[in-house]
Symmetry: C2
Subunit: 341 residues, 2 copies
């Protein structure tokens, strides 16, 4: 029976035809995929865990790029891609337990997320992205700290000392407002924590007292958040010469807010982003480009690569500083340099 469907060479064509005929006559709908999975211990799918609402993945350009890369890898391997719903509000990890998959990819979740813990308990291979190295599972990511450090050095080189920062959520609780040093340090999102620490390091080295730099956090990641966060930073210190945003989306919002206030970018205010999404490129944003598609593909490859001689593995992809039209020397500084002593 099984052979008739899956192993035509194991039986005579005549019998095969007869079996298939009677099967059809009896209304047999073909082998049941679930039972097959149980028996063969292969689900033919990999699970993707995102901390955000499922639909968020389709709204954020960087997430879309990641998904595309992951889908590419799955396609090559002929496996399906199961999007696992993980509502961050509820602590309901049943969706993780119910997912019939051969492995998990975990994309940018807080390191204390119960869903992540549930995944790690499952006896299947896992690849985490944009997470700290856990020592036990494969990892793919970038050097967020180093990339942001370079961006900061670019700004410092231009002469910026008085800056403001807009970042994404740092933990699971909503905190739309200023961020204490404590909170920065304890951020549960590896990516944000490292970007902030890269900034802090560079500016501290340049003699800036980091504890006095206004850092504003937003829970939701969209243009509107960038706008309101930029407004909050500019209200707190109208003297800042540069606004460093931890994502392009936030930076695009900041651009809107700058325009609303009549601030010319980069003449009156330098604005930078992070990610290198298409929209940022179109806007000429100074940013750090990271290979999001490649990241997804690498995650999939790592997961689907069967010969696991050296697990856990860790892949670091390279980033590139893109100097666009939104960063320049601060107004005062350039004149000072020009006419200075």
């Amino acid at each position: 029976m099984s052979n008739a469907y899956n192993r035509p060479d194991q039986l005579s064509p005549e019998l095969r035809r007869r079996v298939l005929d009677t099967a059809r006559r009896l209304g047999y709908p073909g082998p049941d995929p679930v039972a097959r999975s149980l028996r063969t211990r292969k689900a033919g799918a990999v699970g993707l865990l995102l901390t955000e609402n499922l639909s968020y993945a389709f709204r954020d350009p960087a997430a879309i790029g990641f998904l595309e890369g992951l889908a590419l890898a799955c396609e090559d391997a002929g496996t399906g891609l199961l999007l696992v719903p993980a509502n961050p509000e509820r602590e309901d990890v049943a969706s993780v337990h119910r997912a019939g998959v051969d492995g998990f990819v975990v994309y940018s979740v807080p390191d204390d997320d119960p869903h992540l813990a549930a995944v790690l308990e499952r006896p299947v291979p896992t690849v985490v992205c944009d997470q700290p190295d856990m020592g036990t599972v494969d990892r793919v990511g970038i050097d967020d700290r180093g990339a942001m450090y370079s961006l900061a050095q670019h700004l410092i080189g231009l002469g910026h000392r008085r800056v403001g920062v807009v970042c994404m959520r740092l933990a699971r609780d909503r905190n739309d407002g200023f961020v204490t040093a404590e909170r920065q340090h304890a951020a549960h999102f590896h990516v944000q924590r490292n970007r902030l620490s890269g900034l802090a390091e560079a500016f501290s080295e340049a003699g800036v007292d980091w504890s006095r730099i206004p850092v504003v956090e937003r829970f939701d990641h969209n243009i509107a958040s960038g706008e309101s966060a930029a407004a909050q930073v500019l209200d707190a210190d109208p003297q800042i010469t540069a606004l460093i945003c931890c994502s392009d989306i936030l930076a695009l919002g900041a651009m809107n807010e700058a325009a609303r206030r009549g601030l010319r970018v980069p003449h009156d205010l330098t604005i930078t982003g992070f990610d290198g999404i298409r929209e940022a490129e179109a806007a000429g944003l100074t940013t750090v480009r990271q290979p999001v598609l490649e990241k997804g593909r690498a995650a999939g490859k790592l997961l689907l690569d069967t010969n696991e001689r050296t697990r856990p593995r860790s892949v670091n992809l390279s980033t590139e500083l893109i100097v666009g039209k939104t960063s320049a020397a601060p107004r005062g500084a350039s004149e000072e340099r020009w006419f200075g002593p």
Copy 2:
């Protein structure tokens, strides 16, 4: 055992604790999701079948919108979303057979696609999108014919008679070039067939000989295709006053080509799209807006709605003609009307 995990009320807390303790000590990783699915006959996931490469879904804005809506519905229901790889090149339907899902959503595949046939053979509920009404399964879509008819009437009202058309692939075979009337009529993509027939009807009613209108097809759906297809139409008949594109993406490409030729839009050439994606709105494109997100959500709702009193159901979502800045009266016509007799 099972009760200890899933039915805490069925046994004393003391026994439950003991069971869970020993389970942990034995390294038991929790109930196996596949075995559970087999027994309960519930996979906790719905499958999405796209005819394109999986990764394409993340490149096309309309597809992304659809996915977002579908993800939203899945989220509400707490089910996962399995992206089923269906390589259009290979006739390999094994991926459909192997998908452990409670139902399928089929999005815009040719009506003769073997993957679609394989889905319909599976004994699970199915919702088809942008497909002809099959009579046996639920359907969600729009009135492509009527929407395109309205758009054509808008153009006809403006005075356009000599037009060209750029459409997406009409069948599984690649045909990058002109389309015969025969091929238009026999198109295996319901959406494209209806859009073209809406155009043909409107223009025929206006006294235009449809068989003389150049219609150019492109297999790949991206900006570059729009560019080259527009070039092909304009080369074939430089006198056309309007270029009707069957998607916004193609229209955006056509805009590029018009610019390259020094044609001012809409002064020298009217260009229209279809879909109403964000990029089109930004460009001020005259187009038909269809609720892609709503379409995905409706498909998910239909599939996950358990009380199936009136299957098969058919949902038609409404569209809206958006008159943008890319359509105007043809140069000759407007003068004629202004200074005419």
